[in-house]
């Protein structure tokens, strides 16, 4: 069936499928900057209103907007044992993968491989998790930290050595080399 792609409909669907809260920059990106923050904010207010009285509500959290089930439904939802295992975002997982496979690396090295800036929050969360350490500093301007994974990381992943990680050479054969034109990055 054909549906009319209004901005509100797009915004609602994006918020429903996102696994993390979406902040204003992400929401602007959703509309390729064709919608201003003000318009988006007023759509968010409309959505908030549309969902009032439903089992799920649109809420603004510290890191952005997200749909969330209402507390009154908890007794029902508890019966389904729906507890979602928390997940690291793609940015965190890719950063961790690069540190694991390419160590020791600087933040700059990670940014070069990922092609985007790496926020300090990501590095910080991996340090707090106790999986990565600073093992030195690179002798270039700014003397950036050299990051490496440690024993705790291996322990937590159930590995004895880094060599037990899936080999990279095999991985490249699994990925479609196709340059998909429609695939916005």
């Amino acid at each position: 069936m054909s549906i009319e792609l209004t901005p509100k409909l797009v915004l609602e669907a994006a918020l429903l499928v996102a696994q993390e809260p979406l902040a204003m920059p992400a929401l602007r990106q959703l509309f390729a900057d064709e919608l201003g923050s003000k318009e988006i904010a007023s759509l968010l207010a409309e959505l908030e209103n549309d969902w009032a009285g439903r089992g799920v509500e649109l809420v603004q959290l510290a890191s952005g907007w997200r749909f969330r089930s209402r507390a009154v439904l908890q007794p029902y939802l508890d019966r389904l044992s729906l507890e979602r295992a928390p997940r690291y975002s793609r940015a965190v997982m890719e950063t961790l993968a690069i540190i694991a496979y390419r160590q020791p690396v600087t933040r700059g090295d990670i940014e070069e491989v990922r092609g985007v800036a790496v926020s300090s929050a990501i590095i910080q969360s991996l340090k707090e998790r106790g999986w990565i350490d600073v093992v030195g500093h690179k002798d270039v301007p700014g003397r950036p930290e050299l990051l490496a994974t440690n024993k705790r990381f291996l322990d937590d992943l159930g590995l004895q050595a880094l060599s037990e990680l899936p080999p990279l050479s095999e991985l490249s054969a699994l990925v479609e080399p196709e340059a998909a034109g429609t695939d916005g990055v």
């Binding site: 429903l16 499928v17 996102a18 799920v56 997200r66 749909f67 969330r68 089930s69 908890q74 939802l77 729906l82 507890e83 979602r84 295992a85 928390p86 997940r87 793609r90 997982m93 890719e94 961790l96 993968a97 694991a100 496979y101 390419r102 160590q103 020791p104 070069e112 491989v113 990922r114 092609g115 998790r129 350490d133 093992v135 030195g136 500093h137 690179k138 002798d139 050299l146 490496a148 992943l157 159930g158 050595a161 880094l162 060599s163 990680l165 899936p166 080999p167 990279l168 050479s169 991985l171 490249s172 699994l174 990925v175 479609e176 080399p177 196709e178 340059a179 998909a180 695939d183 990055v185």
Partner: protein, 277 residues
């Protein structure tokens, strides 16, 4: 040539660009050959290509010309000293065997494409395999066109917030694999980055050496090496030292010939005032 690849799959990807037709000329420069071979999924795929390319009826493969072309590819692989996949050589043997059996006198009463084709023609088994492969090739393509989660749609993921016990995300080796695959896939789309597999053990040793040197003091070169760890690890450790010097993370110094060699962090040599390179 529109029928070269009936299902429209690109034959190869050169620098990310799909290639739908191969050059008519059978000569392939050795560099291109590797790319070409990687674009075929195996000897059956290559053979199917050769047959389709000539617009031949698969039930009536002119063995002589197809075998000749196939052997040209195999020869090219050998002359450029590529590690020739055993499967390609095996297929060459099969082709030659079929050809030689075709040369033997036939029973006159059965025409070539008559009802007993299957039973009599030495090509029958090859045809069966080719058809079966072609069928799967098309199925694979159809499957890849099927709407797929994460590519064509997303599942809804509304938050269910229970009492806030801090639960840390679980991560497994497979998740790292997936993350790296995503990096690779993106890098291939963007072309600017070269992501090559690197020897993990050297990188691992580099981290280990940096950990030893963490206290900032110079350490004797020899303490980095554990003689009982075996020769491979000694070599890897040495490579790691060289790599760290190259990346300007450590300094290796020796006062004079035959005196002990010292290794220390670049940062330590900085703050200590001495900066030998």
């Amino acid at each position: 040539m529109s029928d070269v690849d009936a299902v429209g799959l690109p034959l190869a990807h050169v620098l990310g660009e799909p290639v739908h037709q191969l050059p008519a000329d059978l000569y392939i420069p050795p560099d291109a050959l590797r790319v070409l071979l990687e674009s075929f999924e195996g000897p059956l795929d290559l053979l199917l290509y050769l047959i389709r390319r000539q617009n031949l009826d698969i039930l009536d493969i002119p063995l002589a010309s197809v075998t000749r072309q196939y052997m040209q590819y195999v020869d090219a692989m050998q002359s450029s000293r590529l590690e020739l996949a055993a499967e390609y050589l095996l297929m060459a043997a099969v082709l030659i065997e079929i050809k030689s059996r075709l040369l033997l006198p036939k029973h006159e009463e059965y025409p070539d494409d008559g009802p007993d084709f299957e039973a009599d023609d030495p090509r029958a088994e090859l045809v069966r395999r080719l058809l079966e492969y072609e069928q799967i090739k098309q199925a694979a393509y159809a499957l890849s066109q099927q709407p797929l989660v994460g590519r064509d749609f997303e599942f809804v993921a509304v938050l269910f917030e229970r009492e806030m016990v801090l639960r840390l995300p679980e991560v497994g080796a497979a998740d790292l694999r997936t993350a790296w695959q995503a990096i690779l896939a993106r890098a291939r789309r963007n072309q600017h980055h070269q992501i090559t597999p690197e020897s993990l053990s050297v990188r691992e040793q580099m981290s280990a050496i940096l950990r030893v040197l963490q206290d900032g003091r110079p350490h004797e070169f020899t303490v980095l090496f554990d003689p009982v760890a075996g020769i491979p690890l000694l070599v890897v450790t040495f490579l790691a030292v060289l790599e760290l010097v190259k990346e300007e993370c450590i300094v290796v110094s020796q006062e004079d010939g035959f005196l002990p060699i010292y290794v220390r962090l670049v940062s330590a040599s900085r703050s200590g005032g001495a900066n030998e390179h």
